[in-house]
C-alpha cells in the first residue's frame, strides 16, 4: 500500500486531495454523495468580513472544456460563518481551511482575526486572486507590492497555516510567489480562475451579468500546470496545485510539476464523487509504478 499522507508546512494531510474554494460549498452539501472525512482537506467558500449578495444572475457560462463564473463571493460574512456554519463543521475529521477575501487590507485582517479563534479551522487560504469582484481581490494578486502588503498584514495577526492563493492573470507568477513567500506564507496555492468573457452571438449580449468572469475547468489545465511548475521551481514553501483537475492522471501531472497537494474544483460539478476516484487513482498509479509514497513523485518531472 503506497502512502498518500503528506505534510504541508505543519498540516498533516491524510492524502493530498483537497477541494477548491467555491466548488465544494461548506462540505455538508456532499454528505449524500461521499464520506467527507476521506478527503485530505476542504477549503470552504470564499468568506468576507461583511455579508455579500454576490453578482446578479446570470453568473455562469459554459465554454469549450470549461466554464466561466461570476459568483462574486456571495457569502454570509465571517460572523455568520463563525456562528452558523462553523458549528456544523466541527464534526468532520479532515482539515478545513477558510478561503478569505477582502477589498481592503483591513478587511482581510479583521476576517483573519475572527477565524484565528476557531479551533477546528486549521488554516486560511488567502484569496488575493478573485477576478469577480470590482473592489479587490485580484488587484492584490497582480502586483508584488500589493501582494506583499496583504500577506504581511494577515501574517501578523493569523497564527495558524497561511496558504496564499495566487492569480494567474499576471505576467510573471513566480515573482508574485516569491513576494508572498517572503512575507511569511506557509504555502502557496494556484491557480485561481483566469479572467475571461463569453458573448451570446444571437442576442449580442455578454452571457454574464458582469461581462467578464473567471475561467475554470480542463481548458485551463495546461496553463495551470505551467504556472505550478514555475512557482514550484521558484519557492521553497509547499505548492498546492489546481486548475482543471478531472481525474487521477491530471492530479499526477500536478505532483510531477511540483505540487505537494492538489485541489479539485470544477470537476465536483461534473461528478460529486470525483475526489474519491482521484484518491483511488493516485494510489493505483503509485502502486503500478512501484512508489512507496506520494512524496516520491512530487517535483519529479524528468527533464
Amino acid at each position: 500500500m503506497a502512502e498518500l499522507n503528506i505534510e504541508i508546512a505543519g498540516l498533516r494531510l491524510k492524502n493530498p486531495v483537497l477541494t477548491a474554494s467555491g466548488t465544494f460549498g461548506y462540505g455538508t452539501e456532499f454528505d449524500d454523495f461521499i464520506e467527507i472525512n476521506t478527503l485530505g482537506g476542504i477549503i470552504v467558500k470564499g468568506t468576507t468580513l461583511h455579508p455579500r449578495q454576490g453578482n446578479a444572475y446570470p453568473r455562469m457560462a459554459e465554454t469549450p472544456s470549461g466554464m466561466l463564473n461570476a459568483v462574486g463571493l456571495q457569502n454570509g460574512g465571517v460572523k455568520y460563518f463563525c456562528e452558523h456554519i462553523y458549528p456544523k463543521l466541527i464534526g468532520y475529521h479532515t482539515h478545513i481551511l477558510v478561503n478569505v477575501s477582502g477589498s481592503t487590507v483591513e478587511e482581510y485582517i479583521a476576517c483573519a482575526e475572527q477565524i484565528n479563534d476557531l479551533e477546528y479551522i486549521t488554516g486560511i487560504e488567502l484569496n488575493i486572486s478573485c477576478p469577480n469582484v470590482k473592489e479587490g481581490g485580484m488587484a492584490f494578486g497582480t502586483s508584488c507590492p500589493a501582494a506583499e502588503s496583504v500577506v504581511d498584514a494577515v501574517r501578523r495577526v493569523y497564527k495558524k497555516h497561511l496558504m496564499v492563493k495566487l492569480s494567474p492573470n499576471v505576467t510573471d507568477i513566480a515573482e508574485i510567489a516569491k513576494s508572498v513567500e517572503g512575507k511569511g506564507a506557509d504555502s502557496i496555492s494556484l491557480i485561481n480562475t483566469i479572467l475571461a468573457m463569453a458573448i451570446h452571438a444571437e442576442s449580442r449580449k455578454p452571457v454574464l451579468s458582469t461581462i467578464t468572469g473567471g475561467l475554470s475547468g480542463p481548458a485551463i489545465k495546461p496553463i495551470a500546470l505551467r504556472m505550478v511548475w514555475q512557482v514550484a521551481n521558484a519557492v521553497k514553501v509547499p505548492v498546492i496545485g489546481m486548475g482543471g483537475i478531472m481525474n487521477a492522471t491530471d492530479a499526477i501531472e500536478f505532483f510531477l510539476a511540483g505540487a505537494s497537494a492538489v485541489q479539485v474544483g470544477t470537476a465536483n460539478f461534473i461528478d460529486p464523487t470525483i475526489t474519491q476516484h482521484i484518491i483511488a487513482g493516485i494510489e493505483d498509479y503509485l502502486e503500478r509504478h512501484k512508489f512507496n509514497s506520494i512524496k516520491d513523485i512530487i517535483g519529479c518531472l524528468q527533464l
Binding site: 467555491g22 466548488t23 465544494f24 460549498g25 452539501e29 456532499f30 449524500d32 454523495f33 449578495q53 454576490g54 446578479a56 444572475y57 446570470p58 453568473r59 455562469m60 459554459e62 465554454t63 469549450p64 472544456s65 470549461g66 466554464m67 463564473n69 459568483v71 456571495q74 475547468g217 480542463p218 470544477t266 465536483n268 460539478f269 461534473i270 461528478d271 460529486p272 464523487t273
Partner: protein
C-alpha cells in the same frame, strides 16, 4: 430520497415527434419518494461541445420497475445528443435534485399551466394531485400543435386545455389567452406553472390579482445542480437563492416578480 450519482441504464427511447424524445432510465438503487418538480442532472458524454451536465425534470417515476423517465426537447448540442440515446446505453445522472411542488392539504381545485417543454415538470404533479383526490385542470401551451406532446397521458389526471400560437390546436394565442383565465379563474384554489419565464410571469399576474396561491418552477442555467457553485441564483424576498436547492419550485410570493 437521498441524492445519488448513478449510471442509469437507458431502457427505451421513444421519439414523440421531430424534436421531443422520451427516455426511460433504470436505477440500481431503489427509488422512493420523488417529489413532483424535482429534477435530474445528466451528463452528455458523446459530444465535444458540452462540458457541464444538463438539467431535466423528472417526468415520470415507476416505483415498481424502478425507472424514471425524462422528456427531452432537442434545442442545442446537449439535448440533441441525449435525445439520440439508445437502449442499452448508460447515462450518468445525479438525482433527485431540488425542492418540488407542494400538494395542498385540503381538497382543492388546481390549475397546472405548462408552456413548451415546461410541461415535463407537471406530469408527476398532475398524477399526484389526482391520486390525492384534488380536482385538476391542465392548460398546455405551445407554438404549434406538433409541439404539444403526451396530451392523452395528461388527460388521465384531469381536463386538458390547449393553446397554440398558430392556432393549430385549441385556443389561438398564449396560455393566458385561454378562457380559463376569464372569470372562472377565481374557482381555482391553486396554480402551478412551468414554462418560459414571460409565460410564467403572465400567469403569475393573474395569480396575484386574484390572490390565488401559485407555485412556479424556474429554469435557471446551472453548473452543479446541488447547491455548491452558486451560479443558478434567483432574486427572492430573502436575497439570492439557489434555484437548484431552494427551487426549482418557488412560491410566487418569494420571487421578486412584482415589477
Amino acid at each position: 430520497m437521498k441524492k445519488t450519482v448513478q449510471d442509469l441504464l437507458v431502457i427505451s427511447n421513444r421519439r414523440l415527434n421531430k424534436d421531443h424524445a422520451l427516455l426511460v432510465l433504470k436505477s440500481e438503487i431503489p427509488l422512493d419518494g420523488i417529489v413532483p418538480g424535482q429534477f435530474a442532472n445528466i451528463l452528455v458524454e458523446n459530444s465535444q461541445k458540452t462540458f457541464l451536465r444538463r438539467p431535466f425534470s423528472i417526468y415520470q417515476v415507476d416505483y415498481t420497475c424502478n425507472t424514471i423517465s425524462i422528456l427531452i426537447k432537442a434545442i442545442g448540442e446537449g439535448t440533441k445528443c441525449l435525445s439520440d440515446s439508445i437502449a442499452g446505453q448508460k447515462l450518468s445522472v445525479i438525482f433527485p435534485l431540488g425542492k418540488g411542488f407542494s400538494i395542498p392539504e385540503k381538497k382543492s381545485k388546481a390549475l397546472l399551466v405548462g408552456g413548451g417543454v415546461g410541461v415535463a415538470a407537471l406530469m408527476i404533479l398532475a398524477s399526484d394531485l389526482h391520486k390525492a383526490g384534488h380536482q385538476v385542470e391542465i392548460l398546455l401551451g405551445a407554438r404549434s400543435a406538433s409541439d404539444l406532446v403526451e396530451l392523452d397521458v395528461f388527460s388521465k389526471y384531469g381536463q386538458v386545455h390547449t393553446t397554440t400560437e398558430d392556432g393549430t390546436l385549441g385556443t389561438r394565442g398564449f396560455v393566458t389567452n385561454h378562457p380559463v383565465f376569464g372569470e372562472d379563474i377565481r374557482s381555482f384554489d391553486k396554480i402551478y406553472t412551468c414554462g418560459p419565464e414571460p409565460m410564467m410571469k403572465a400567469v403569475s399576474k393573474f395569480a396575484t390579482t386574484y390572490k390565488i396561491p401559485c407555485e412556479v418552477s424556474l429554469e435557471n442555467t446551472m453548473a452543479c445542480g446541488y447547491g455548491v457553485c452558486l451560479c443558478c441564483v434567483t432574486q427572492t424576498t430573502d436575497g439570492h437563492k439557489c434555484v437548484c436547492t431552494e427551487g426549482p419550485v418557488f412560491d410566487l410570493n418569494r420571487l421578486k416578480w412584482q415589477n
